[in-house]
Symmetry: C2
Subunit: 232 residues, 2 copies
DNA sequence: CTATTATTAGAGTATATACTCTAGGCAGTC
DNA sequence: GACTGCCTAGAGTATATACTCTAATAATAG
């Protein structure tokens, strides 16, 4: 593999594991056992590495969110979209963690990310439209649909942050793809009230597959205890 | 005012304006025209400053989210909760921006924040319960209610990040409390399907007050254009 | 007034970080 | 075998950052 690609791969890996803020260019070089000079031969600065990685991410999600023009969507389509989006989120999970700082330090990234968000929102919106076409959800007014899409986006992009901040008892305990995908449960919760009677049961079954298991159950216990004891 | 309090106040102000990551202890001292030594006389390290600020935040939100035991909730109560929570979010807005890093670098903070989140989730859950009691929303099964509460939490805590990353065209354009409170529109969107017929209209009117106006409207235009042009 | 304690200044430091610069190796080509 | 273009090593640097140390000044108690 080309050095350039190795740099991108290692950077992504290290960023995901320990956060962009905690990884310096020297770390990346050391991890690859190459010199800093070598790294800077391939990338002008750290921002450029991140920008490159973002563009991969963007491409991946755009590829996933390609929505057929000619037909309504099935439940399998919906599952595919949800699974794919969370897979993408997982692979590039460092990105949303330091998003604001990253956008502040790279105007290109800010611009691109803005457009990326808008494309995603539009895609979610169209998915809702096509789910209605497929008879899975009842058609909703334009205005409500776009507000719903935005809520779906908020839940999707921030589910991981929730897990990492509220869920994990310590910094070390790193989360799994399975836990991340429990976000699908939350997204489907958003859609429940809009399901057509014919599909309601089937979506409930699908949703059940992603229901949080043990870890969150423990969390619930803690919560109850805390409330009982700490109510003022 | 005591130097200690001035440090806390200035820190909060600078963190909110420019992000914790961009503000050093030397910045804070310089801003107050005191020496670094003086700052470190009052606080052992930067983490301690942040921890203190968090505790203020915690106290504020806990105070806001004190839910009456003896009665159902009115629409005025709901408005108060929503307004208050977004006010709190606004005053301590730096906090959620670098949340993951902050929790990683201070175990006390991680523990406290975890419990804080659980208290908030429990409060949202109880609000839903009391809204049902007040005849505003239809009662829902325990399980659905807690998943809904979690979604409300996700939308509330991440609405600002959305505005700052997807909405603002550049880093400088700082957002306003008014824009932030348009998050209430999103939260009420979540609740729409569960409203009782008697209250539905009134909540829709309330929601309308928070509807995003100009800025997001512009955003919509951009979005549409981008989709039309960039669809692959 | 004196002794003690609380507060402050300000120079200084160890470490980290992003990045540069120079010299050289290596593969292919004429 | 010399030339060329790509790649790499590694020492080095300017700046920043969190924090320390000492000495001096204000505040307070007896």
């Amino acid at each position: 593999m080309k050095t350039r690609d190795k740099i991108l791969l290692s950077s992504l890996e290290l960023f995901n594991e320990r956060g962009e803020r905690n990884i310096t260019t020297n770390h990346i070089a050391a991890h690859l056992a190459i010199s800093p000079g070598n790294l800077y031969y391939h990338f002008r600065n750290k921002s450029d590495i991140i920008y490159d990685i973002f563009q991969e991410y963007e491409k991946l999600v755009d590829y996933y969110l390609d929505i057929p023009e000619d037909r309504g969507l099935t439940l399998e389509d919906l599952t595919f979209y949800l699974e794919s989006v969370f897979d993408g989120l997982w692979s590039y999970r460092f990105f949303h963690r330091d998003l604001e700082y990253l956008l502040d330090s790279d105007p290109r990234l800010r611009q691109d990310y803005r457009e990326f968000t808008n494309r995603c929102l539009a895609a979610i919106d169209r998915i809702f439209g096509k789910l209605a076409e497929g008879g899975i959800i009842a058609p909703q007014p334009e205005e409500l649909r776009s507000a719903m899409s935005l809520n779906v986006w908020l839940v999707i992009t921030n589910w991981m942050a929730f897990l990492k901040t509220a869920h994990a008892a310590d910094a070390q305990s790193n989360l799994t793809l399975t836990e991340l995908k429990q976000g699908i449960y939350q997204v489907l919760t958003l859609e429940l009230p809009y399901l057509t009677p014919e599909y309601r049961e089937r979506v409930l079954v699908l949703r059940e597959k992603y229901r949080p298991t043990l870890p969150v159950a423990q969390d619930q216990v803690v919560r109850q205890a805390s409330v009982a004891g700490g109510a003022r």
